[in-house]
């Protein structure tokens, strides 16, 4: 080392990723060797401090029940637990800290990779706290105010027994991390709304948890059952019905078993197709139950894509298909295709998030968004994934979105760009507002209502020719306040009789604007504020489910004071539909 510049970091420190061992599902699930089923996964790495604490995540091992605080050492490039015994994994708080850090980091990375940019948290800090032993309670949730994911643990009935840690359940950690990521992407999805929107947070978190579990090959291998001596399994085990059954029985049923009252995690029932009249059942007004409709679709899609991918493994898949006895397939290869299918589906779904409206979400929006996004990336759809997607959503009875999607490039009245700064459209909220203002009529946005640009984010994706395409995504929100009587006058629609005409109500509308690499508006996904029928449904629903706030107002933004939203959400399920 010469005088002058001194490098703080040793040159051999890992720079982008480390490989760490994770509990693949939860400690009750064991592999062929009878030990806890684990997987080695690549985890994004940044400079580390005590905690462990990296650029985006900060583990604080503080137990509110006992007051215990442990400061763990930073993660190094070597995995200290690569060969650790099961008991160590189960009980060592340092491993728990590493586990929760690695799982959350992997989840965040998955979103960032799919969307092609860094994702902000929903609060004004760059680091999300992870508290692996937050309280002695079978519960885990995202706390916006504390900028934290809190994971509880369940002490044993007898003081000498085994504690159950929610931070060791892969699906629980992924589910909660997804809540935090979604909140950063679409903060308005927690506003009082029609039931689909509340269900989306839960449903999507469950989907990511499910697909994340399936993206680990070891899990699928176990679920496919024991192979013969050469590592092969009969073809009958990878037929669609067989896969559906074995994955349900051996993977899904294990998922979420650690949380009882708190439903921070997936339930096996989520994967069974919902009854055909689910939309009419009051039980499906409850967010978790309703979210499970989306999860069932995702599971169905996963099997569909996996089966398509498996076809290639059989030479002449149609040759003598019925009499295919004795045909076998390599278990590791079959599992790998499953893991790839899970990753692919997850990427596809996450990519759609940018194309969602910022407010007033309904299930149809997800289908719309995923189809739009996928169309940009894979215009041909030669594998038929989009057809599959469309088919499964329709089969589940998901209504068409109430959003108006305009392909602006093809519209008869294209927007004006006079006086608009191209670079500003990629980064500046005021510039985007100016654009919206200038083109309000052409975009059919009524600026009589309060209008605000909420986010402007540059994004990058790989185009069909393999080159990087820079785009930018802006969202705007509109709000209006009036009394129930004024609503009726304005809209000509009657509200439910339980709403007092003097009740103050707040209405939301808004849209997502997608600008292409030339700064031209390409897509406009619009939830008009003056879609009075939607507003009527929303207000009636909120009144019927008892969502008047403390000031006896209906539908008002809960702002930053979202309180224990998630802690509560994870508990409400039992009395579904019967409450006031």
């Amino acid at each position: 080392m010469t005088d002058g510049i001194e490098f703080a970091e040793p040159a051999d420190e890992p720079r982008t990723h480390v490989t760490l061992r994770l509990v693949a599902q939860d400690p009750t699930v064991s592999g062929d060797d009878g030990r806890i089923l684990t997987a080695r996964v690549k985890v994004p790495w940044s400079r580390m401090e005590d905690g462990p604490r990296g650029a985006r995540l900060h583990v604080v091992d503080y137990d509110t029940a006992t007051g215990r605080y442990i400061k763990h050492a930073p993660l190094g490039k070597e995995d200290l637990y690569a060969d650790a015994a099961d008991d160590v994994l189960r009980t060592d708080p340092t491993f728990h800290a590493q586990h929760v850090y690695a799982t959350a980091a992997r989840t965040l990375a998955l979103f960032e990779t799919a969307l092609g940019r860094r994702l902000p948290w929903g609060f004004r800090s760059h680091q999300l706290f992870l508290v692996p032993h937050a309280f002695a309670e079978a519960n885990a949730y995202y706390s916006f105010e504390d900028r934290a994911l809190l994971f509880g643990y369940v002490p044993p009935p007898d003081p000498g027994g085994d504690t159950i840690y929610t931070c060791l359940s892969h699906d629980v950690v992924v589910h909660e991390t997804t809540h935090a990521v979604l909140d950063g992407l679409r903060s308005r999805f927690l506003e009082p709304s029609l039931p689909d929107q509340a269900a989306f947070h839960e449903g999507f978190a469950d989907i990511v948890a499910l697909l994340s579990v399936f993206s680990m090959r070891t899990v699928i291998e176990q679920a496919l059952g024991k192979p013969d001596r050469s590592g092969r399994i009969p073809r009958s085990r990878v037929r669609p019905e067989a896969l559906q059954k074995s994955m349900l029985a051996r993977v899904a049923e294990q998922i979420g078993s650690v949380l009882t009252q708190g439903r921070g995690a997936l339930r096996e029932s989520a994967l069974r197709p919902p009854p055909s009249d689910w939309a009419k059942q009051t039980a499906f007004l409850e967010p978790h139950r309703r979210g499970e409709v989306l999860v069932a679709i995702a599971f169905d899609l996963l099997i569909g894509i996996w089966v398509k991918r498996l076809d290639a493994l059989f030479s002449g898949p149609n040759a003598n298909a019925e009499g295919a006895r004795g045909i076998t397939v390599d278990r590791a290869r079959a599992a790998e295709e499953g893991a790839k299918a899970a990753t692919q589906l997850l990427t596809m779904l996450v990519r759609g998030l940018d194309y969602l409206p910022p407010v007033e979400f309904d299930f149809g929006d997800l289908l719309n968004a995923v189809l739009l996004a996928d169309n940009e990336v894979v215009p041909d759809d030669d594998l038929g994934y989009r057809t599959l997607l469309h088919d499964r959503f329709t089969r589940a009875g998901i209504q068409r979105s109430t959003a108006r999607v305009t392909d602006v490039l093809k519209s008869e009245l294209p927007p004006h760009y006079l006086g608009i700064n191209f670079a500003g459209l990629r980064s500046d909220r005021d510039e985007v507002f100016r654009f919206l203002w200038q083109n309000a009529r052409r975009l059919d946005v009524d600026t009589e209502y309060y209008t605000v640009i909420e986010s402007v984010l540059p994004t990058q994706r790989i185009g069909p020719d393999g080159l990087i395409v820079p785009e930018s995504i802006a969202t705007y929100v509109q709000m209006a306040e009036m009394t129930a009587r004024e609503f009726t006058e304005q809209s000509g629609l009657e509200l439910s009789r339980v709403i007092d005409p003097r009740t103050p109500v707040q209405l939301f509308g808004g849209g997502t604007l997608i600008f292409d690499q030339f700064g031209r508006l390409k897509l406009h996904i619009h939830k008009p504020l003056d879609d009075w029928r939607r507003q009527q449904r929303r207000l009636d629903h909120l009144a019927a489910t008892g969502h008047l706030d403390a000031k006896q107002r209906l539908g008002f933004s809960s702002g930053a004071a979202r309180g224990q939203t998630f802690a509560e959400l994870h508990r409400t399920e039992q009395s579904s539909g019967e409450e006031w």
Binding site: E137, D158, T260, V498
Partner: protein, 441 residues
């Protein structure tokens, strides 16, 4: 044979709590020469009617009951063991009156049977159990034992340092009320006690002629395994987990973890977070306490009393989980559905909380035909004691919805009156308000 001619229901002002006296008057003398029978349903309070009011009011209420029953109580029903339903039995002067009233029948939930503890083989309990009474299974017995043990743990939380006042008050509501229970056990001696579950004979018919008493809840663990499981996971898990959680938090209280000087966490974000997490501890305790609260509420007796052409529904604090057992019968039992739809009087469940009056019941009442007498609802409650916003008790939406389908009387609207009295002809409703005649000077 004398027949009922009139039914009178008195709702006493106990603040936040329940105390109802159902009196049935007959057209002639019964075998003991009296012309009336009295059923007291609950006798508790957790908050006085107004702040600063003396806690000793239950003795006054007991004196009123003695007067209104003429000194003889036929049936005592204690829906469940929360103090807003039995606190009065702990007040010495009131207890004395209750002993004098000497109810001939004391009806409590199956979970309250003192014989259960002798038959329990649950964790930490005596071995070599005898056969459980009333045909209960071991699972039911264990559930009841665990519930009692958990309640004892919750009591400890009241001593936790640095706990939010509201959470502490909620924990105090779970206290065991040992004295009250002891008195009830005493009153239940000599085979006067009955411990009922859904579908069981209550014994009320034998004591009060002309009455049909149907026990709709609580279900035992055998009748509805979801009681113990709460969810699909292995049985007892959630209550065991709850109990263990309370043990850990409680022992931290013993160790005085909070009394120790707080460790320094430096000036960084860790400090910020740990400060904030104190709130999360309160939230966590609040959730645990509420789970226990729910579980105890769900041991409530749901009693349907039918006298000639009148019917009255007293569901205690039963929440949806308890009600579910009955609600699920409705599609296949049109008869039961009709009976519930046609009730004349509804004691509003759980002081008007959001999850104790199932919406499906309200739907039944909304669909009542015009030839039925108007429904009357009675709610004993006090605003601003429990919950805010969504969790407010009583819940404004529910109150509004009840007013939509019938007349509602609430203790919250009382001035200094000591009770609200309704009466109806036994042949047919509706119930009418009996104006209170103030004693002359």
């Amino acid at each position: 044979m004398s027949a009922p001619i009139r039914v009178r229901v008195r709702m006493y002002q106990v603040g936040f709590g329940d105390c109802f006296l159902v009196s049935i008057e007959y057209d002639g003398a019964l075998e003991d020469g009296r012309t009336e029978r009295h059923i007291l349903i609950d006798f508790g309070t957790s908050r006085p009617p107004r702040d600063g009011m003396a806690g000793g009011r239950m003795a006054d209420v007991a004196a009123l009951i003695e007067k209104h029953t003429g000194g003889v109580l036929d049936v005592l029903v204690v829906t469940h063991r929360h103090r807003d339903h039995l606190r009065g039995f702990e007040v010495d002067a009131a207890a004395e009156i209750m002993r004098r009233l000497a109810p001939r029948l004391v009806v409590r939930s199956w979970t309250e049977d003192p014989e259960l503890s002798a038959t329990a083989d649950g964790p930490g309990l005596a071995a070599s159990p005898a056969d459980p009474p009333n045909g209960l299974s071991r699972a039911s017995v264990r559930y009841a034992a665990l519930l009692a043990q958990t309640q004892a743990r919750a009591a400890k939380l009241t001593g936790l340092v640095g706990l939010d006042d509201e959470v502490r008050a909620a924990a105090e509501d779970q206290l065991e009320n040992a004295e009250a229970v002891a008195l009830l056990d005493e009153l239940s001696r000599d085979r006067r006690g009955r411990y009922v579950h859904a579908g069981m004979e209550s014994g009320i018919e034998d004591v009060v002629p002309g009455v049909r008493a149907t026990v709709l809840g609580p279900p035992t663990v055998d009748q509805d395994p979801r009681v113990a499981k709460q969810r699909e996971e292995d049985s007892e898990y959630w209550l065991t987990a709850l109990d263990a959680s309370l043990r850990v938090i409680g022992s931290a209280a013993d160790a005085g973890a909070d009394a120790a000087a707080p460790a320094s966490h430096g000036p960084g974000p860790v400090h910020w977070l740990i400060d904030r997490l104190a709130n999360q501890r309160s939230h966590s305790v609040a959730r645990l306490v509420r789970d226990l609260d729910d579980a105890l509420n769900n041991t409530s007796i749901i009693l349907l009393l039918e006298v000639e052409g009148l019917s009255m529904l007293f569901p205690g604090d039963a929440q949806i989980e308890n009600w579910r057992h009955t609600l699920e019968r409705l599609p296949d039992e049109p008869q039961l559905r009709r009976r519930l739809a046609a009730i004349d009087l509804y004691k509003v469940g759980h002081h008007g909380s959001r999850n104790a009056t199932p919406r499906s019941l309200h739907v039944l009442w909304k669909g009542r035909t015009a030839d039925l007498p108007r429904l009357t609802a009675m709610v004993s409650t006090r605003q601003g004691v429990h919950g805010m916003d969504d969790g407010a008790v009583p819940k404004p939406q529910l109150i509004a919805a009840l007013r939509e389908v019938g007349d509602l009387y609430s203790t919250d609207e009382l001035g200094d009156e000591e009770w609200i009295e309704l009466e109806a002809d036994a042949a047919r409703g509706p119930f009418r308000l009996v104006p209170l005649v103030r004693p002359g000077p």
